[in-house]
Amino acid sequence: MKLVEKNQIMDPDGMRRAITRIAHEIIEKNKGTDGLVLVGVRRRGVPLAVRLQAQINEIEGVNLPLGILDITLYRDDLTTLDHQPVVHRTEVPFSIQGKKVVLVDDVLYTGRTARAALDAIIDLGRPQQIQLAVLVDRGHRELPIRADYVGKNLPTSSKEVVSVRVMEIDQEDRVVLNEISD
């Protein structure tokens, strides 16, 4: 299986603007930042959550608590995968009891990662609310899950792969649409 790049969906400026807009929407929807915490889903949800935190700080002057969630142990496909995913640490060094948790991930696709993330969060405590922020929503949901904040809606076919590339991990900021070729 090989991936061939089809086209670029977002450039660095596009990503920055989308994150700025999502930051504004989070503040608006929650009427400020009271009780808000951010939780990034490993891996690429984490740098996106860090950027949202910085952006919200710029707008409101508040540094929201930021956690990291590893959902490996909550996946529903562990017995069918042909490779075994490595478990990393979940680092949520604050109580989420009664908080409004904004989950941050790079791509929303089948909804299975979001489902696993919801279960993982609830095992850490009982938040008042969980909201979902994603940079790209590419459709093809297999579960009744939707995002509260979306950077870009992108209609795709199931032969395509959306790849969010971030400076912290991939040494560049952009979103690319790839196609699987055999």
Binding site: V87, H88, L124
Partner: protein, 311 residues
Amino acid sequence: MWKRKDLLGIKELSADEINQILDQAVPMKDIIKRDIKKVPTLRGKSVINLFYEPSTRTRTSFELAGKYLSADTVNIAVSTSSVVKGETLIDTGKTIDVMGADVVVIRHQASGAPHLLAKHIKAKVINAGDGAHEHPTQALLDLFTIKEAKGSIEGLTVTILGDILHSRVARSNIWGLKKLGAKVRVAGPSTLMPPGLGDWGVEVYHRVEDALEGADVVNVLRLQLERQQKGLFPTIREYARQWGLNSRRVSLAKPGAMVLHPGPMNRGVEISPEVADGLQSVITEQVTNGVAVRMAILYLMTGGGVSDVPR
């Protein structure tokens, strides 16, 4: 990626495999410290504890490790099982196997019993101690405890003290420590040293003080009173005086050296109470780490798509 069906000993593991287990135990330890100590990872898997010898911590540790990962765990107490009616190990194993066991954790007084079982059943087999041969999960939790405190095993000097002859913990530890690049010293009465120890790549000491000098880690073995034949050492008091780890002797090791003991302790025999409960002791931490390491092992062995591995 984990490719083995069974975990029978440290001797056959590579350094990479050992490190893989130690790395996966780090996030597992976080789970033990949460309010909700459960993840759904091994839902629908079954883990059977088959213990032919007494055990508190290893059996409970495996049971909790399985439960924290949502596996169904069952303990078979051999003294109340069909074993007392004369059922053979293989027949007992096959019975458990066809009930749908995914993992059988076995402790047995005979060296090689887990290997024999592994050849005859489809379930994955974990050795929880076989005779005086190996106790791989104990060695792994000891390695994890050392690595957690010291950052790395490589280059450390580790002294293993006591009854080496009867100790499966010592054997597994020596192999594991050597593979990860530690310098290993052993010390104990010469009657409690196995022949040919020199070939294991360890330094053999005959005075406890020499063995402890400058050590980073001291792992004190339990004097296995149930396995002693007569005449290997004069009396328990004599053993305690000559070989027991006390504060004065600990002070010969490096400042801040760690003291480990696999438990259960004979307090006042191989280790004095003030050392066992002292600041340098990590004995209770070892118990917590034991659960984390066993969770990592269960996850690696059953959590992924490894069912098609040829046996």
